[in-house]
């Protein structure tokens, strides 16, 4: 909300920027592309409804995630964020296999070398912890990741870096 200057959304929509403009805190006038990309994918009206349905303290994060998704969709019009999720799920599966092999190797070594060896307990908490994906319905079953598609996987998907770095290309 920079003084009399309309926010990026009101500038793009060519309207008066009200004092209580829902977009103003999150779409400053010095970053017009941020709103442009969100408007292109979701539409200003839908973004406004989504923000108004959220408590104020959650709106900044919501805007950041919408910007992220919009960027992903513009970069990859077919798969959007789903392409990235599919890629990461594959990574998790591969790590799961590698870990299973390594843990089997430890068990073999322990059996061969017997009780003379120092007791190496596999971390019981993590061994049973379902830190790999389980189908709890939260993560949809994604379609096969097509490597021939033009999906661009950002270098880091960390929430912190997503919300710190300007993802606008």
């Amino acid at each position: 909300m920079g003084g009399n200057s309309p926010c990026a959304s009101c500038k793009l929509l060519r309207r008066r920027c009200a004092k209580d403009c829902v977009f103003a805190p999150y779409f400053p006038p010095d970053d017009p592309h941020k709103f442009a990309i969100v408007h292109k994918v979701f539409g200003a009206s839908n973004v406004s409804k989504m923000l108004q349905e959220l408590p104020v303290q959650q709106r900044a994060d919501a805007v950041s995630s919408l910007v992220y998704e919009a960027n992903a969709r513009v970069r990859d019009p077919v798969y959007g964020c789903v392409g990235a999720i599919s890629y990461l799920q594959n990574q998790v599966s591969q790590l799961q296999m590698q870990l299973a092999v390594a843990q089997a190797e430890i068990l073999c070594i322990q059996m061969q070398q017997g009780p003379v060896m120092p007791t190496q307990q596999i971390d019981e908490d993590n061994h049973d912890k379902s830190y790999f994906l389980h189908d709890n319905g939260l993560i949809p079953k994604f379609i096969n990741f097509d490597s021939s598609s033009s999906t661009v996987i950002p270098d880091s998907f960390k929430r912190e870096s997503i919300f710190r770095h300007d993802m606008v290309s």
Binding site: E69, V78, G80, Q96, A102, I139, R159
Partner: protein
């Protein structure tokens, strides 16, 4: 061939033309699919996105739009980004656990090698500590001869 209106045209309460962009991907038997997508993206944006793409890519696009819309409805703050963040966390935990397990394997292997070396050294020390006649006896025995005292020598 889908007869009647597609889910989109039913929802929008309009006539469904023969070349409706939505009808192949939003069949009338799944009204919730279009409702989700419309709620997040809006019918107009979805139509534009589909029209920009070649026909063979539109089905997958409609599927991914539906998935993302569902994620956003389930998690209005983070949507798909929440899942991506969760996956990154899982990857970090798994990598850490894998590194720890591989380090344990390395420790086991190095202890095993050390045990082997110690065994070899113990054998070596055993022979070093033997008296000369014991070494000779041990050597003769290894060639199939008895102790030196039982040796009989014939002189011509």
């Amino acid at each position: 061939m889908i007869s009647g209106r597609c889910a989109a045209c039913k929802y929008l309460r309009r006539r469904c033309p023969s070349h409706c962009i939505f009808s192949p991907y939003f069949p009338p038997n799944d009204p919730q699919r279009f409702a989700c997508v419309h709620r997040i993206y809006g019918a107009s944006n979805v139509g534009k996105m589909l029209l920009k793409l070649p026909p063979h890519l539109r089905a997958q696009t409609a599927d991914t739009l539906y998935m993302e819309a569902k994620c956003r409805i389930q998690d209005p703050v983070y949507g798909c980004v929440g899942i991506i963040s969760h996956l990154h966390q899982q990857i970090r935990i798994a990598e850490s656990q894998l590194a720890k397990t591989q380090a344990e394997i390395a420790v086991f292997n190095s202890i095993a090698r050390e045990a082997q070396v110690q065994e070899i050294e113990a054998d070596s020390n055993f022979f070093k500590n033997l008296l000369p006649e014991e070494i000779t006896a041990a050597g003769l025995r290894s060639y199939g001869y008895g102790s030196p005292s039982t040796q009989t020598f014939k002189f011509n």
